[in-house]
C-alpha cells in the first residue's frame, strides 16, 4: 500500500472509528493498548505495522488528546521513559525487521519496560571510554562489566547496552550495541543509594552474560553511531499541552510565600521574585520550543532548556529551605526506599533540595551541555582531544 500518509482529518476519523469499535470503559486496558498499536494510532509517525501510519509527528498530540478525552487507558510513559524515548527510536533506526516486530509493540504498551546500560564508573561524560567487554562466541556474545546510574533496572525486562568489542582501535570505533535481557543469568542489579537516602538508580553487574547475536543492534563496531541516535532522542519533547504558570518547584515556593507571612523577609522577597521571573522565562522558552517543533522548525534551543532547568531547580529548591529556616533543618526520612516514579517536587523540602543536585548531572552534566552548545550551536573550537587516535587499550585509566 503506498497511499499518502493520513492528514489530521483522516487521523481524527480513524481515532473515532477505533473508539467506536473499542469502548475504553468496556475493554481490558492491555487489550485496548495492543489494538491501538495495531491500528497504527500508538505513535502515528512510526511506519505502518509498527504502531504508526507514517503521518507527520506533529499530529501525535491531537491523537493523544482525543484518546485521553475518551478515557482511554494510558501506556504509563512515566514508567518507561527509556523505552519510549530512547530504545524505541534506536530500534526503529537500526533494528532488523524481526527486532522491530519483537520489541516495539510490548514496549509501547508498557508490557515490557526498558532501562539503559550506558554509563560506567569509569565512563560518565566520556561515554566512549566504556570498558564493558563483549566477546564473540559463535552465534552469541559473552559480556562482562559494570554499569551504573541505571534507573528502572530492577523493573526492566530489557536494556539497551553499549559494549567494547575491539580494544585495539580508538575508543569510538571499537563499540557494539545490544539489546540485553535483564532476566538472563549473570545480570545482577544492586540498588545504588543516592544523597537523598533513597535508591532511584542501580548499578548493574554483568558476569558472563550471554547475548545472542540476533540481539545486536547495528553492525559490529558501529556502537557509537547507534548510541548517538539514542542520546539525540533523549527527552525530545514534542506536543503536549503548555505547562501552566507556576508549575514545578516555583509553585511550591510561591504557595509557601503566600501561606506563611511570618517567613517573609525583604531579601527573600526579591529572591522569590527573581526565581519567579526566571521560571516564567524558562516556561515560555519551553512553549516556544514546542511551537517550533509543531511547526516543523526545530531549533537548537532545546539544548539550553535542560541546562536552565537544572540551575533553576537547584536555586528554587535551595530557596525553599532558606525560607523555612528552622524547619529547613529537618529531613523527612533517610530510609532507603525504591521509588517507581521520578517527580522532583515530591516528598519534602529537604528531599527536593537534595534531589535537584542530580539535575545538573543526569542526562548530560551541565558542563558537557555547555560544551555542546558552545561547539555545535556557536561553532566555537572543540576541546583538545588527546585520546583521539589512541587505541582504547592504551588510554590512561
Amino acid at each position: 500500500m503506498s497511499t499518502a500518509p493520513p492528514d489530521a482529518d483522516e487521523l481524527e476519523r480513524r481515532v473515532g472509528e477505533f473508539l467506536a469499535a473499542h469502548d475504553p470503559s468496556a475493554t481490558e486496558p492491555l487489550e485496548f493498548l495492543r489494538a491501538r498499536f495495531d491500528a497504527g494510532l500508538a505513535w502515528v509517525h512510526y511506519p505502518e505495522g509498527l504502531g504508526g501510519l507514517g503521518a507527520p509527528r506533529a499530529l501525535q498530540p491531537a491523537v493523544d488528546r482525543r484518546f485521553a478525552k475518551a478515557g482511554a487507558p494510558g501506556n504509563h510513559p512515566e514508567r518507561n521513559g527509556i523505552g519510549l524515548g530512547m530504545a524505541a527510536p534506536t530500534i526503529l533506526a537500526f533494528g532488523t525487521e524481526e527486532q522491530k516486530r519483537r520489541f516495539l509493540r510490548p514496549l509501547w504498551t508498557g508490557e515490557e519496560l526498558w532501562c539503559q546500560l550506558f554509563s560506567e564508573p569509569g565512563a560518565g561524560s566520556d561515554l566512549a571510554a566504556l570498558a564493558t567487554r563483549a566477546v564473540r562466541d559463535g552465534d552469541a556474545w559473552t559480556v562482562n562489566g559494570q554499569k551504573v546510574w541505571t534507573s528502572m533496572a530492577h523493573e526492566a525486562r530489557w536494556a539497551i547496552l553499549v559494549t567494547r568489542t575491539d580494544p585495539d582501535v580508538p575508543k569510538h570505533r571499537g563499540m557494539t550495541y545490544f539489546v540485553c535481557d535483564m532476566t538472563a543469568p549473570g545480570v545482577e542489579v544492586r540498588p545504588l543509594r543516592q544523597i537523598t537516602g533513597e535508591a532511584e538508580f542501580n548499578e548493574v553487574f554483568l558476569t558472563d552474560v550471554r547475548i545472542p547475536d540476533e540481539h545486536r543492534l547495528g553492525e559490529v563496531g558501529q556502537g557509537w553511531r547507534v548510541s548517538t541516535t539514542t542520546l539525540m532522542n533523549e527527552r525530545v519533547a514534542i506536543g503536549g499541552a503548555a505547562a501552566p504558570r507556576e508549575s514545578g518547584m516555583i509553585g511550591v515556593v510561591a504557595a509557601l510565600w503566600r501561606d506563611r507571612p511570618e517567613l517573609r523577609t525583604p531579601g527573600l522577597h526579591d529572591s522569590v521574585l527573581r526565581a519567579w521571573v526566571q521560571t516564567e522565562a524558562a516556561r515560555l522558552t519551553g512553549e516556544r520550543l514546542r511551537q517550533q517543533l509543531t511547526a516543523g522548525q526545530p531549533g537548537p534551543e532545546g539544548s539550553g532548556a535542560k541546562l536552565a532547568f537544572a540551575e533553576l531547580n537547584q536555586r528554587v529548591s535551595g530557596l525553599e529551605l532558606e525560607l523555612l529556616g528552622e524547619e529547613g533543618l529537618r529531613y523527612d526520612d533517610w530510609t532507603m526506599r525504591r521509588p517507581t516514579e521520578v517527580d522532583f517536587t515530591r516528598r519534602s523540602p529537604g528531599y527536593r533540595y537534595l534531589r535537584a543536585k542530580g539535575n545538573s548531572i543526569e542526562g548530560g552534566t551541565s558542563e558537557i551541555l555547555r560544551n555542546i552548545i558552545a561547539e555545535r550551536v556557536l561553532g566555537l573550537p572543540g576541546e583538545i582531544r588527546v585520546d583521539k587516535d589512541v587505541a582504547w587499550k592504551d588510554l590512561p585509566k
Binding site: 517573609r264 521574585l273 521571573v277 522558552t285 516556544r288 517550533q292 536552565a308 556557536l378
Partner: protein, 363 residues
C-alpha cells in the same frame, strides 16, 4: 497561549530593515554620530520610518498607518537594537504612537505614522508603566512645568505632555530644551521646560500614558533582545579569531561556558519578548484591567534588561583590551544596554510590579 514564533511576513520585514541598517548604520557611522551635534541620524530615520514605512506599522490604515500590529513593530525594534541605531523610533513610533492611539487622537497620529513628524511623550525616560507622571500644570490652554531626561527630546517637533488630568500636544518651537550629556549617546536625553506653552488637549491622560509606557516597555524588550544577539554574535566571532597561548581564546572553557550560558539566556529573552509583544499586539495594553499583559511585560523587562546588560558586559570583557577602547563598538552596546535597563522601569521595579500582579506580597 500566544504565538511565540516569527511569521514569514515578520522575517521578510526583518530582512528589509536589516538591509537598510547594514547600509546606513554600520557601527563606524553610529560611533562617529556620537561625536556630532545632531541629536539623531536623520537620513537613517527617513529610510526606516518613511521609506520602509516602519513608523506606522501598528497604526490602522484609515489613520494613515500600515494596519499591522505591535508584533511586527517588535521585529523592527529587534533590528534597531542590533545596531544601536540612533533614531527616535521607540520614542515616536512606539511610545508617542501608543499614547495617541490610546487617547483616540487622529490628526497628529497620521503625521507620526508617515514618519513626517516626531512626537515624544514628555516624561523622564526612567518612568515605569503605572508610575505617577504629570510634572506640568495646565492653565488657560497653556502648559507650564519642567520635565527632565526626556529621551529624544532634542529630536521632537511635538511633545505630548501629561498635565492635570489630560494629555496635551505642545509644539516644540515654543519650549526651552537643553541637551543632556547622556550615558547612551545613541539615544540622547533632553531637559524640557514649558512656560505657558500653548497646548492642545488630545485626550485623557493617565490611561494613555500608562498604555504608552506599557507598550514601550514591551517593545524595549525586543530592542534588548536584538542588542543581546548582536553582542553575542560579535563576541563569538571575535573569540574564534583571537589567538593567545597558541589557541583561539574561544577554545577555552572559561569563555565557552559563559557564552553557552549567554546563548541560553538569549533563547529565553526571545520567548519572553515575543510573548510580551503578542500580548500587547492583542490590544490589551489600553486596558488597565488586563493583568496577563502587565505580567508578560513585567517578566519581559525584568528578564531582557538583565540579559542585554550581561551580553554587553561579556562583550566588553571577552574582547579584552580592545573592548575597553573608544574605537571599538562594544562600549556603544554597553551604554545602550545599561541605559535600557534603567529605562521604563528597572528590573527591580518590574519585579516589584509583579509582586502585586501575581500575589507575592512583600515582607
Amino acid at each position: 497561549m500566544s504565538d511565540l514564533l516569527y511569521s514569514e511576513i515578520e522575517n521578510d520585514l526583518r530582512a528589509s530593515v536589516r538591509e537598510v541598517l547594514d547600509d546606513k548604520a554600520p557601527w563606524t557611522s553610529v560611533l562617529a554620530g556620537t561625536e556630532k551635534d545632531e541629536p539623531y541620524d536623520a537620513a537613517l530615520w527617513q529610510a526606516v520610518a518613511a521609506q520602509l514605512g516602519c513608523a506606522g506599522l501598528p497604526v490602522p490604515e484609515d489613520l494613515g498607518g500600515a494596519g499591522a500590529t505591535w508584533r511586527e513593530t517588535a521585529v523592527v525594534m529587534e533590528e534597531l537594537g542590533r545596531y544601536a541605531a540612533p533614531v527616535p523610533f521607540l520614542s515616536a513610533s512606539v511610545i508617542a504612537t501608543a499614547a495617541l492611539m490610546a487617547a483616540g487622537e487622529r490628526d497628529l497620529l497620521a503625521g507620526l505614522a508617515s514618519g513626517e513628524r516626531i512626537a515624544v511623550l514628555a516624561v523622564p525616560f526612567s518612568t515605569a508603566p503605572g508610575d505617577a507622571v504629570a510634572a506640568a500644570r495646565v492653565e488657560d490652554g497653556a502648559v507650564t512645568g519642567v520635565v527632565t531626561s526626556v529621551a529624544d527630546g532634542m529630536a521632537a517637533d511635538v511633545f505630548l505632555v501629561p498635565a492635570g488630568d489630560g494629555l496635551y500636544a505642545v509644539d516644540a518651537a515654543g519650549v526651552r530644551r537643553t541637551a543632556v550629556t547622556s550615558l547612551d549617546m545613541t539615544r540622547r536625553l533632553a531637559d524640557v521646560a514649558f512656560s505657558g506653552a500653548p497646548a492642545r488637549r488630545v485626550g485623557e491622560g493617565d490611561g494613555a500614558v500608562r498604555a504608552a509606557l506599557l507598550t514601550g516597555a514591551a517593545m524595549l524588550a525586543s530592542e534588548q533582545l536584538g542588542l543581546a544577539e548582536r553582542c553575542l554574535d560579535d563576541t563569538v566571532a571575535y573569540v574564534k579569531t583571537r589567538y593567545q597561548f597558541g589557541r583561539p581564546v574561544g577554545s577555552y572553557q572559561g569563555l565557552k561556558h559563559r557564552l553557552a550560558d549567554l546563548w541560553t539566556s538569549i533563547t529565553q529573552a526571545r520567548a519572553v519578548a515575543r510573548h510580551a509583544a503578542s500580548r500587547v499586539a492583542a490590544g490589551d495594553a489600553g486596558d488597565a484591567g488586563d493583568a496577563g499583559t502587565a505580567i508578560a511585560v513585567a517578566v519581559a523587562q525584568a528578564h531582557c534588561s538583565a540579559v542585554a546588560l550581561k551580553a554587553a558586559e561579556e562583550c566588553v570583557q571577552m574582547h579584552g583590551g580592545i573592548g575597553f577602547t573608544w574605537e571599538h563598538p562594544a562600549h556603544l552596546y554597553l551604554k545602550r544596554a545599561k541605559a535600557d535597563s534603567l529605562a521604563l522601569g528597572t528590573p527591580g521595579h518590574h519585579r516589584a510590579a509583579l509582586a502585586a500582579l501575581v500575589d507575592l506580597p512583600p515582607a
